[in-house]
């Protein structure tokens, strides 16, 4: 028994370590080639320099201000666009008439890439926060809308029939069957929306901003601070990963019944 469990432990250790071997090797190689002068710091700063830049900016408090501002923009756009998308998706998904009135128009607008609206957004809202939040909302809106709509439409009709024949109607039917049935699809939308939200934020922030991670990197570019530029890119990666983890946590919480199915 004990031999098996030791083997089991080393097996688990291997599984946890192995995915990190390649990234670590790249980092080491990168650091070494910078040190040996193969790689100019103008092109790519050494990893340690990026870490140092991060520490300096963190100590001055500037780093957290930028992260805070960027996160505010991202979440503001997400809640505005996502909330509206959820609401309209629920409406068009639940009421045939709303679908007839709204869906065609929404599908037409959906085909316009949100980033194509940047010039218009600047004309309408200036280079203020409003323009950025507008662009993010627009991108997030359709992802959530489409997934909510499809989620509601794909609720199992057999379950609906059961619910009705067991006396559920109106809000009770909605709460017990329609919403939970649509939830997994809605959460897929949330995950996609999180990803899309960062893409639009990055573009919007690099165009015009006085604060935020995008501003920080653009500013650093002017002064050839490649380490800060790289730091900004890494920050986007970390924030994106955090948002994805949040989405997964929501899925685990709300769809725990689903996990119960899979384990049997």
């Amino acid at each position: 028994m004990s031999i098996v469990s030791v083997r089991d432990l080393t097996q688990r250790f291997k599984e946890n370590i192995q995915p990190w071997i390649v990234p670590m090797a790249i980092l080491v190689f990168w650091q070494a080639s910078s040190r040996l002068g193969w790689l100019s710091s103008r092109i790519l700063p050494e990893p340690l320099a990026v870490v140092k830049a991060g520490i300096n900016l963190a100590l001055s408090g500037e780093l957290f201000r930028h992260i805070w501002i960027s996160s505010l923009r991202a979440s503001g756009g997400f809640f505005a666009g996502g909330g509206l998308g959820l609401l309209l998706g629920l409406l068009t998904g639940s009421f045939r008439r709303m679908e007839i009135v709204l869906d065609t128009s929404l599908q037409m607008i959906r085909n316009i890439p949100p980033l194509a609206l940047i010039p218009l957004a600047i004309l309408w809202f200036g280079i203020d926060e409003t323009a950025k939040i507008f662009l993010i909302s627009l991108g997030v809106f359709f992802v959530i809308y489409i997934n909510t709509f499809h989620g509601i439409r794909s609720v199992d009709p057999a379950l609906l029939e059961m619910g009705k024949s067991y006396g559920l109607k109106g809000w009770a039917l909605y709460r017990e069957i329609i919403l939970p049935g649509a939830l997994s699809s809605i959460l897929v939308g949330v995950r996609y929306a999180f990803g899309f939200m960062w893409v639009i934020l990055i573009v919007a922030e690099t165009i015009s901003a006085q604060e935020g991670i995008g501003y920080m990197t653009m500013n650093a570019r002017e002064f050839l601070q490649t380490d800060v530029v790289l730091l900004g890119i890494i920050l986007y990666a970390i924030l994106g990963k955090l948002a994805d983890m949040l989405a997964r946590a929501l899925e685990r919480h709300w769809l725990k019944w689903n996990a119960a199915c899979e384990t049997t």
Binding site: A158, S165, G167, K169, G181, W257, N258, T264
Partner: protein
């Protein structure tokens, strides 16, 4: 939802006096598109009776049950419960149990059982636990349905129907997907619960033996009409092996399998000229006056009822399966 009847707590083991509904069906017709599935069906079920409905697939037996449950609209004719027609076909003291359990995967067993039951949270849970105990699943109350076996899911579905104290329980092949042993167990459970609460029960099944074991009465539906209606006056519980059970089942089966039970239209007389054996289907070719007819039959039924070359047979087919084309090649 807020109906007073539903808020009353589930009667703990109490016997309801005269609990069953009297069902009266008169000239019931159901059309889907242009096709008549039920063609003026008449049936009267006294309160508390357990009726088994059998028939080939597509004969209209499930449609009849769905009409009784109010899941479909009646094309013409009447359905009366206790002498008055149900409102919009829906009646809260009638409950249906489906072939698939239709449990909500996102609700626990106890929440699934209490679906549609109004009242205080603790009361509702107490009721649900009580019914779950009766179907032997109280210990799984807080599990997800995904963790249950097929038989356990059907027991939850039964509990979910019972919690509303139905006076008419409609069973749409609820045991069709279960393995043989679980089936026997469920039959016993349904019988015991029916005896205890004395509701009227209508069971649709394609298993004739099951129909005889559970039913006070066997009703055979063919082509949208009742063609066989026989009381089963055997003591309960009945067993599969019993000779009386087998005899009644045999009579119903003979009727189902006999030629005149099938649609009298579209019959073609002919002689078997070729038999191509295969697995699982075989082909039998019949020479009729107007040409050859190929019949695909399951090899199993062929081995049970062997056919020989040169035998005179009747070939018949459903009218909705005939394809017509203008014969442009003829002179």
């Amino acid at each position: 939802m807020g109906d007073g009847a539903m808020e009353k707590p589930f009667p703990r083991g109490k016997r309801l006096e005269g609990a069953g509904i009297r069902v009266r069906i008169d000239g019931l017709v159901k059309r889907f598109g242009g096709r008549e599935v039920l063609r003026g069906l008449n049936l009267e079920i006294p309160p508390g009776e357990f009726v088994s409905i059998v028939g080939r697939s597509g004969c209209g037996k499930s449609t009849l049950l769905r009409l009784l449950a109010g899941l479909e609209d009646i094309s013409s004719g009447t359905v009366d419960f206790d002498g008055s027609p149900p409102k919009n076909g829906y009646r809260e003291d009638a409950r249906i149990m489906f072939q698939d359990s239709r449990l909500l995967p996102w609700r626990t067993i106890v929440e699934n059982t209490a679906i549609g039951l109004a009242g205080k949270k603790e009361n509702v849970r107490a009721c649900a636990l009580d019914v779950l105990k009766q179907v032997g699943l109280a210990d799984r109350a807080d599990d997800w349905p995904g963790r249950l076996s097929g038989g356990q899911r059907q027991r939850v579905a039964l509990a979910r129907a019972l919690i509303h104290r139905p006076r008419l329980l409609l069973l749409d092949e609820p045991l069709g997907a279960l393995d043989a042993l679980t089936r026997l167990e469920m039959q016993r459970l349904i019988e015991n619960i029916w005896k205890r609460y004395e509701f009227t029960a209508v069971l649709v099944t394609h298993d004739v033996a099951e129909a005889v074991i559970l039913g006070d009465r066997i009703v055979l539906i063919e082509d949208g009409l009742i063609t066989f209606d026989e009381k089963v006056a055997l003591p309960r519980p009945r067993e599969y092996g019993q000779s009386e059970v087998a005899a009644i089942g045999r009579r119903a089966l003979d009727r189902i399998m006999s030629v005149n039970s099938l649609n009298v239209r579209n019959q073609v007389k002919g002689k078997i000229v070729d038999i191509q054996l295969g697995q699982p289907l075989s082909e039998v070719v019949i020479e009729a006056a107007g040409g050859f007819i190929a019949a695909t039959v399951s090899s199993r039924s062929l081995s049970e009822q062997p056919l020989e070359l040169e035998t005179e047979v009747l070939a018949f087919f459903k009218s909705n399966e005939v394809i017509l084309a203008v014969n442009s090649g003829s002179e």
